[in-house]
Chain length 484, copies 4
Amino acid sequence: MVTTQPYDDDKLHEECAVFGIFGHPESAALTALGLHALQHRGQEAAGIVSSDDVQFHAHREIGLVGDIFGDPRVIDRLSGHSAMGHTRYSTTGEPMLRNVQPLFAELEFGGLSIAHNGNLTNAATMRKDLVSRGCIFQSTTDTENIVHLIATRRGAPVERMISALRQVEGAYSIIAMTQDSMVGVRDPLGVRPLVLGRLGDSYILASESCAFDIIAADYVRDIEPGELVVITKDGLRSHWPFPKQKQRFCIFEYIYFARPDSVVEGLSVYDARKRIGVELASEAFVEADVIIPVPDSGVPSALGFSQASNIPFEFGIIRNHYVGRTFIEPSEEIRHLGVKLKHSANRAHVEGKRVVLVDDSIVRGTTSKKIVEMMRLAGASEVHMRVSSPPTNNSCYYGVDTPEREKLLAANNSVEEIRRLIGADTLAFISMDGLYRAMGHDGRNQDQPQYCDACFSGEYPIQLTDRLREHDPRQLSLLAETGG
Amino acid sequence: MVTTQPYDDDKLHEECAVFGIFGHPESAALTALGLHALQHRGQEAAGIVSSDDVQFHAHREIGLVGDIFGDPRVIDRLSGHSAMGHTRYSTTGEPMLRNVQPLFAELEFGGLSIAHNGNLTNAATMRKDLVSRGCIFQSTTDTENIVHLIATRRGAPVERMISALRQVEGAYSIIAMTQDSMVGVRDPLGVRPLVLGRLGDSYILASESCAFDIIAADYVRDIEPGELVVITKDGLRSHWPFPKQKQRFCIFEYIYFARPDSVVEGLSVYDARKRIGVELASEAFVEADVIIPVPDSGVPSALGFSQASNIPFEFGIIRNHYVGRTFIEPSEEIRHLGVKLKHSANRAHVEGKRVVLVDDSIVRGTTSKKIVEMMRLAGASEVHMRVSSPPTNNSCYYGVDTPEREKLLAANNSVEEIRRLIGADTLAFISMDGLYRAMGHDGRNQDQPQYCDACFSGEYPIQLTDRLREHDPRQLSLLAETGG
Amino acid sequence: MVTTQPYDDDKLHEECAVFGIFGHPESAALTALGLHALQHRGQEAAGIVSSDDVQFHAHREIGLVGDIFGDPRVIDRLSGHSAMGHTRYSTTGEPMLRNVQPLFAELEFGGLSIAHNGNLTNAATMRKDLVSRGCIFQSTTDTENIVHLIATRRGAPVERMISALRQVEGAYSIIAMTQDSMVGVRDPLGVRPLVLGRLGDSYILASESCAFDIIAADYVRDIEPGELVVITKDGLRSHWPFPKQKQRFCIFEYIYFARPDSVVEGLSVYDARKRIGVELASEAFVEADVIIPVPDSGVPSALGFSQASNIPFEFGIIRNHYVGRTFIEPSEEIRHLGVKLKHSANRAHVEGKRVVLVDDSIVRGTTSKKIVEMMRLAGASEVHMRVSSPPTNNSCYYGVDTPEREKLLAANNSVEEIRRLIGADTLAFISMDGLYRAMGHDGRNQDQPQYCDACFSGEYPIQLTDRLREHDPRQLSLLAETGG
Amino acid sequence: MVTTQPYDDDKLHEECAVFGIFGHPESAALTALGLHALQHRGQEAAGIVSSDDVQFHAHREIGLVGDIFGDPRVIDRLSGHSAMGHTRYSTTGEPMLRNVQPLFAELEFGGLSIAHNGNLTNAATMRKDLVSRGCIFQSTTDTENIVHLIATRRGAPVERMISALRQVEGAYSIIAMTQDSMVGVRDPLGVRPLVLGRLGDSYILASESCAFDIIAADYVRDIEPGELVVITKDGLRSHWPFPKQKQRFCIFEYIYFARPDSVVEGLSVYDARKRIGVELASEAFVEADVIIPVPDSGVPSALGFSQASNIPFEFGIIRNHYVGRTFIEPSEEIRHLGVKLKHSANRAHVEGKRVVLVDDSIVRGTTSKKIVEMMRLAGASEVHMRVSSPPTNNSCYYGVDTPEREKLLAANNSVEEIRRLIGADTLAFISMDGLYRAMGHDGRNQDQPQYCDACFSGEYPIQLTDRLREHDPRQLSLLAETGG
């Protein structure tokens, strides 16, 4: 596990990350660094809103954090004692600037900035109601519902926010900011992560602990499921707006989304992945000469597999460091040459060898097919594929970009069919219980699973209201806009 | 009068122009051409919204119409049977994209696009009330008040609009568009212009008739003060939402804002200006050798002055065609050289001559001073300045960008003081009655003037509610935004 | 004549202007201003090279002077005591950056910068020879020949330059700069203009005197035909490298190219044009109600015509100030509407009138046709066209961009045929003798004409070597280049 | 070894890569792909020149190959049967477009395109001579000397080229292209690599074999030291213009420059690196708990070290995938926080552990210092550094960008001093003989070393003419240019 995840269109994608810091003279610069550390959770767009004593300042753009906020003049304009930011992986159509978070609104009590990781499952239903009452939506994000709910309620900002969140269903980790406070909240099941950190006297909220490491801040604790914290100059206070429920954290965060150097809910992500490799070796051992990780996310599991199986670990696939998303799509005429922009085989360690490939997941299967083929072309005598997640056969409605169900290879094919499609000699996915064991449990508690694993099991722990009412949760705009 | 007005920061500026066409397959291209013809009314930004049977399409940008809409791909994306557009001269701070009109909102009944020429005098008062009821403003334009008023009313779009406009005070010519209709409306006094045209079966609305000429459309009539017209596929219907009042059209439109080839309220603008020159020659004749217009807006009056006085007309000042707004601001060190980027003297017709300069107005006086100085450097023996408007000594609150009162030269100085400041031998402004005579009246009707002339007289025909309540009508945003 | 010439693709175009100033701390800024005043001579690209005690500094770009050099950081980088610049109207294919002058080369004696207005008639012949000797050309400009001739000669820079120029045929006004000197030279016939000015202790060279006015410098004198001046810190010295010949200045400079406020070879351009109008009125009088100039270059002649004929002068055509070169080319579907982007009729002064249009030249005739048509649509009862140049029926090989001969309307049609093609009731061009009379001569000296008038007469005063040898003088590059 | 090398300013940098393909309808697209695979050899700029039957086509730009040539319209313009390209790591000052290769010149026989990896050691000396003979240089590259030498010689292109190369000293692998041929040549000692490949009927030349893999072409052989191959439609012919000498290939190619999946002079780069790790473990074993590679180039040696020492291999350092070169340079105020943009520690595998770090080289030492510190902050009980190259203490003059000698840590410090400066508990570099053993030799042949190892030994196998004559081999331009 050498690097954070590069973008790969054959993976599931976390849609967002959030970061906020209250009461620091360098708040915008620290937010830029925090977002940079969280870049793997969303590469389409990023934004920062800061607050000084007079005004809020915002900068939002399509692109990577480093490109957008690498210009010191941009950071300089984001003055103020507090700042919050968001990176986004856009889910519908082409990315629109007005959907880039944090959202900002001027309400009766002053300015409000808000950003969200997750997905609301009753967004379309709420929106229809709010529009009929005269609310004008500017974005197509589910997050904007919360802003209008806050705007049309009465009372102090925090009271309005609590009242608004009680209307809301779904998975969410939210950061909000007013002139003199910052709020962090996690949904009652705690599906998405949110952690609390500290740098000197300043509190920090972030999606993952790796955002603290980059600025040498201290990890304090995870925000608890259903907890709402309010940070002001007088310190931090917790509120509990919802009835208590048992946690159902997203298990895919451990498998792929989170950074290997993050510690999530007390567990090292890197170690969790290595342990999945160990479980996989015990569940699906195969005689072989070499264990080869599919770069980059397969590396820790491959290492675990190698250590458990005593089969040597080698880098049999080299990833090209310089591949961006925009590289030349080879023309039809030369594509048949088998052009390999992203990876190449390290022939010396493949030729004549029985190879075990270890990857984290199979979504569409396109990459797996190419990689197996590349091994064969490089002379592998056998190619065995081992996958560190169970078959992905259901869509996620809680903030992860999943292809439509019909494009999920495992939704429509048995393991044997998948094996044939990708061309491997053998194929094994880790079992559900094996996965839970790697997380430190005895296995999956069938009555009340310890995690949200809907993408594997199809059991959805939060009601899918929009889906039941057949409202498309991915709101389309009446307006197609260009310019600017 | 050879050209339309170039931008000049020593002039008053019309803030906007509007254009709309209903039911034409080339609606966006025609709107771009119409806006191009109206470019003199606003050079900061422009936008077009079109409507097809499924969706609205918008393109808004900072810049000139020709630069923004010169790209055929931009026009192609603005598909649909109807389109409307706006050009804007921004009034506060740096131009913000979210203030560029037409505004667009998705309301309960569908999409609504709206654009406005003029200024609402109770905008800040209304906004405060709407925000307290939970409305979230996205722009700092006064126009957005109307959108929220429409959103929070009930009934059909036109009923909502009429109900909304009854809340509104100020000067306005508005075009609005829904999926299946276009609406045009002028305020009860008709301060700002709005004309109706026709191209084949399609109705057109525009700020000036020159926008019809460019697309070879026919001028039908001026929309009347207080009239609201609704254009649908069934034709045009007029509504009269307000009690009738006598018209008070803005007289400065004739002096400077309107294009010389426009016909406004039945009067040719070019001829009106020539007649001002004739009146000026009779009121303020002076023995001289040559009449020289200050380019470009002084030309027709100078020609009128020359024909009435029998003093030869010559182009004693050449304007540089290539001056943009962004040209090199000469450094302090070479500015003292008297660098003249915009104009140069045609020495052969100035040297040793008694010169009469004719200009349309004196606002700050900076240009007048430079021009007089240039005449002296080129050897003029006498320099007489004649101005085809009365002294400009009051701010406009009805949609014209006026400097703060203390920067209006005539607000703080007598005619004699101005003469001394600009360095002329003699100086005369046209009289108020002379001006009204040039418009074809016997003079100004003191009880009920035929025009709005508040910038000269200080008599404001529409209540200045925000000003009375000390609300700043120029709403500042809580958010300073960059990026995109 | 209110403005300098806007770009018009139905005119002939001067290809270039040059400007240089020696020994001034603000040399680059002054050069930018000078080029700005000369912008009418070339709108495709511009460049400035400056020289300080250590290095030369260059900035060259496609675009207008004001856009390129309006950025103070660009000017700041062009440090040094001396600077020279060039604006270019590109003649073949798409403009290439490596053709943008001034050219620069590092020779044995140090850096050399050079810029040229005109055209060499033996460029291709020289180039072939130089390449065979191992010289590597970087541009396709004829100017680069001179650089290689200088590089491969011996001796001091000025000796090399004189030796090089003796190889060269054609029309040229050249400015060159070394570390410690500036050189100006005009070809033996003085076809293209070059004037000498002074600002304090600094000498200035420029294509036209209007470049002095903008920086308040003094006009000293015209550089004489065949004169080469060398400016160093010790002052100015003249050299006469060629046998003396009688001057043959380009008469089209008076008709169209030069700015109206320039004084060329002792004659005011504005006055020359007015006098052409006077001659035209006497040669081709017609009963009419109004004299209307075709904007902008027809204005002074129209004024002269009006004063001589006593027919009133009116601005019957309004030019749109905001037309750039890039504006939307209306689609086929709406072009038939007769869209008029550049001009519109001032109907009040056209309707029912007998109109005399005055224009400077007819090249392709496309504009003339549109303008006559516009007059008819606006209700003119008669339309008479008067042209202040003789029929343009030969290509120029001396630095003016002329369409190929077959596209010159007058090369293939009689005056009566042209009249019919443009749709006028009558049409008259000024006679050759009338034109010379307007310049202050008794008429054209047939044995040895006072001017170069090859575009009218077909008599070419300088040998057309390349053309005789059938070398294409417009060198095409073996390399099509993009990027950068 | 998971990825190709990212840019790191604490490494030595190969300055260039070359690629050419003759006789393929997709030649430009294949060249773009080949350059993409060679991107690790130069990240500043890239260019491609193609040749069709009529013309050459070039596109050169500052930036990465994927960004420049990812636009299919760029590739489409590069039409033709043959193409060649270059990527460049710029060495002096800011990168200038005119230095971006391939260079192109129009010579007597037609167009010539040329690109070069390496460095000429008599470039300045030759340049002085050529300029004195009238040659005009356009770039400051040493490569341009070769172009002028070819231009001023006589005979057929290949004869001219051979004659030119006999004047040249230094390290070079050159590709050149004329209308109907492609030439590849390596300097007599073969310091820089150049390999020959084949795709169908087309020959390919490239700096490394990984450029063949990406387009599924076959590796044929290495071009031999001193060999010049000419490829035409009749096939490939070898020429031997120089007296034979023993090869001195650059040993640093194996240590760092070349891609791990390349095979160079018959040796797998990945395996060579692993074997260095094995040698290092035997030379400098230390008791420890974990072997941690410094990403990314230290990975194969670390794996070799781990396998030889039986100490577990773990990814104790995570590299951030999204770091570009332009990211926010943290302000002074927050830099003291120890911001770690590129790497973060994987605490779980560092805390309480005795750590062996394996890196490929220490140049300035800044990164090593940070990494050791990071290990300590993450709780390492001991930190041992092992380096898979001998101390780098001499500059390279053969095409590698080395800091000035005074900035090479090892040039001025003993191993013990370096250990103290970077803060490690122990430090060991591989021995020279150990390195040669890892390459498959018995050790370094002291009389005639098998490789060029001047950066370690100070023994320079090719004469340093410019340096002896005190000509600065890094030619500075007299012209500082912007624009374009």
